[in-house]
């Protein structure tokens, strides 16, 4: 199967397929630039992410972390003033190539947002099933199975299994965020992009989601934007430090936090600015 055929496969169990990877990396960003109107938000970003790892993007507000993560699944281009130049490879497919359908890319790369955003008119069950149903999967037994599996994967099942018919919005903030994670997991993504998933949550709910990331790493590749450096240190294998739209330093988390190569990184990590 050629890479393009693979990119456009409609199969939902994509993660189980063996694929040739570009230099063995799951996600590779090459010379990525992005603008909002005439203001440049990302400047020549290059980095590679290995499969089954957690990568944290850190940096002060406005440094382009969120823009970068939104470029990874082509969500950024939905902002009307945004333009993107450069390449992002998912396995060996450039997701910005002309023949790639952004809808397919989004199916393969799930996303969790800063604020929990369950679909307001849907039940807990429907929130998780929505992606499947609206992508044309009709097998009810299969949907049931995936909903249960996804809610278990997001460590929410035990709390909601008796009230799957209740509105998604009736859950607490932390539960809603785990519901959103379950909703993303139901699509069997290969990569999960998380944009400050715990910034709206209390420490207990945040801890649950951090634990969850550790579990998720076994199944897929996680890229997370976070404001919280302790969180980055706790959950990630690799850390990228961004400043003013540039990727200042990228490396193993331990190295970034204990022995940063750049002075700027050192000053940010030690809280001298940011």
């Amino acid at each position: 199967m050629s890479s393009e055929e693979y990119a456009n496969t409609n199969s939902y169990k994509l993660s189980s397929l063996a694929v040739t990877k570009r230099h063995g990396y799951k996600v590779s960003v090459r010379n990525l630039n992005s603008w909002f109107g005439s203001k440049q938000a990302l400047k020549d970003i290059n980095f590679d992410v290995k499969e089954n790892t957690v990568t944290a993007l850190i940096g002060p507000s406005g440094c382009g972390k969120t823009t970068l993560i939104r470029c990874l699944n082509r969500m950024n281009e939905m902002t009307s003033s945004a333009t993107v130049k450069g390449s992002v490879y998912l396995d060996d497919i450039d997701i910005y190539a002309n023949n790639v359908d952004p809808v397919i890319i989004k199916r393969r790369m799930g996303m969790v947002f800063q604020k929990p955003n369950p679909f307001p008119t849907m039940s807990i069950y429907d929130n998780v099933a929505a992606g499947l149903k609206l992508n044309g999967i009709r097998d009810k037994a299969l949907i049931r199975e995936i909903v249960e599996e996804s809610l278990k994967g997001a460590v929410l099942w035990d709390e909601v299994k008796d009230e799957l018919g209740k509105p998604g919005l009736s859950l607490s903030g932390g539960q809603q965020q785990r519901l959103c994670i379950a909703r993303a997991l139901a699509m069997q993504p290969e990569v999960l992009l998380m944009d400050e998933p715990t910034s709206a949550l209390d420490p207990i709910a945040s801890a649950k989601i951090e634990e969850l990331m550790n579990e998720l790493r076994k199944e897929l590749t996680v890229i997370i934007v976070t404001h919280n450096m302790q969180q980055a240190a706790r959950v990630s294998n690799h850390t990228a430090f961004m400043y003013l739209g540039e990727l200042v330093e990228y490396g193993p988390t331990k190295q970034i936090f204990e022995n940063p190569q750049k002075e700027l990184t050192e000053r940010y990590i030690s809280g001298k600015f940011g």
């Binding site: 996303m111 947002f113 679909f119 008119t121 929505a130 149903k133 609206l134 044309g136 909703r183």
Partner: protein, 308 residues
């Protein structure tokens, strides 16, 4: 520590502000009361016409209502037998037909303006003319219906009436749909897109569904508005004392019947007119109440994601 003469936070400022608050306190309380009183008074004034209309219609119309009145065609107006059956049927048919035309067009146009058009010049123009449309006198729309669909077809007919009414409905539905869709937070759309759902499905099954209550309210508003229209119907369906005869014959409607009854000199005709007005009000009112109970209250049901 910083209470020097040069400090911007010195005690004098605080004192001045504090004195001002105390001085204004008494005045503020009076203004508060007067303002609250004025709003209540205005609510009362706004309610008086509504209340007196309802009171008059019920008082004069209730005696006319009977099974015969609701189901039979008009008999002798001097003896006062028969009823407004054809008018009730005609209103239901014409308004239903108009909704079948106007609601889908209105919703889809509203969806286009909100979800697809953005701030383009074209969208701006459409919005502008849509607003102009809401202001066109309904008799003008009736004349358009007459010229386009009555003269060409050769007789007064229900299609002409339904088209005329739908032209009145469309701008209302478009505006309400666009406004409600714009209230749906973008994060909901992004969440749906992030699941790899194609845009048309996101729009139809996620965004529009989230805005369902607002859109339905807009539809009821539009239906209520056209159910009471008289002028465009005179030019298009004309009115008749017979039940529905087919798509190429005149049809009756309650507003037309009320108007005809009111212009006759007979006691029974006036009583029938009040009765017909009461029926029309009840029909429109029950539509709103039905919506509230059936849809808005139970807007949430599990397992109700669109069947595909």
């Amino acid at each position: 520590m910083n209470n020097t003469e040069n400090s911007p936070h010195n005690v004098d400022h605080r004192k001045v502000i504090h004195e001002a608050i105390v001085r204004k306190n008494y005045k503020r309380k009076i203004v508060n009361r007067v303002f609250t009183g004025a709003t209540i008074a205005c609510v009362m004034i706004a309610m008086i016409p509504l209340g007196s209309i309802l009171f008059e219609v019920v008082k004069n119309g209730i005696s006319a209502i009977s099974i015969e009145f609701l189901t039979q065609p008009q008999g002798s107006i001097i003896r006062g037998d028969g009823g407004v059956g054809p008018a009730i049927q005609g209103t239901l048919l014409t308004v239903g037909y108009a909704s079948l035309i106007g609601v889908p067009i209105g919703i889809l146009a509203g969806v286009y303006l909100s979800e697809y058009a953005g701030n383009s010049k074209f969208a701006y123009t459409v919005r502008f003319f849509n607003n102009v449309m809401t202001g066109i006198p309904s008799i003008v729309i009736g004349i358009v219906g007459y010229i386009v669909l009555v003269i060409t077809i050769g007789s007064f007919n229900i299609t002409a009436g339904a088209v005329a009414l739908s032209i009145i409905m469309i701008p209302i539905v478009v505006a309400v749909t666009e406004e409600t869709l714009k209230l749906v937070p973008n994060s909901i759309r992004e969440a749906a897109h992030s699941l790899g759902i194609p845009k048309w499905k996101v729009t139809l099954f996620i965004t529009l569904r989230s805005a369902k209550n607002g859109v339905l309210t807009g539809i009821v508003l539009a239906v209520s508005r056209v159910a009471g229209e008289t002028a465009p119907l005179i030019m298009t369906i004309l009115g008749t004392s017979l039940f529905f005869q087919g798509f190429l014959s005149p049809v009756d409607a309650l507003p037309l019947r009320i108007w005809r009854f009111a212009s006759q000199p007979y006691e029974h005709a006036h009583s029938f007119g009040w009765g017909a007005a009461l029926v029309l009000i009840i029909m429109v009112l029950s539509l709103s109440i039905l919506l509230r109970f059936l849809v808005l209250e139970k807007s949430f049901k599990s397992g109700s994601l669109v069947k595909m």
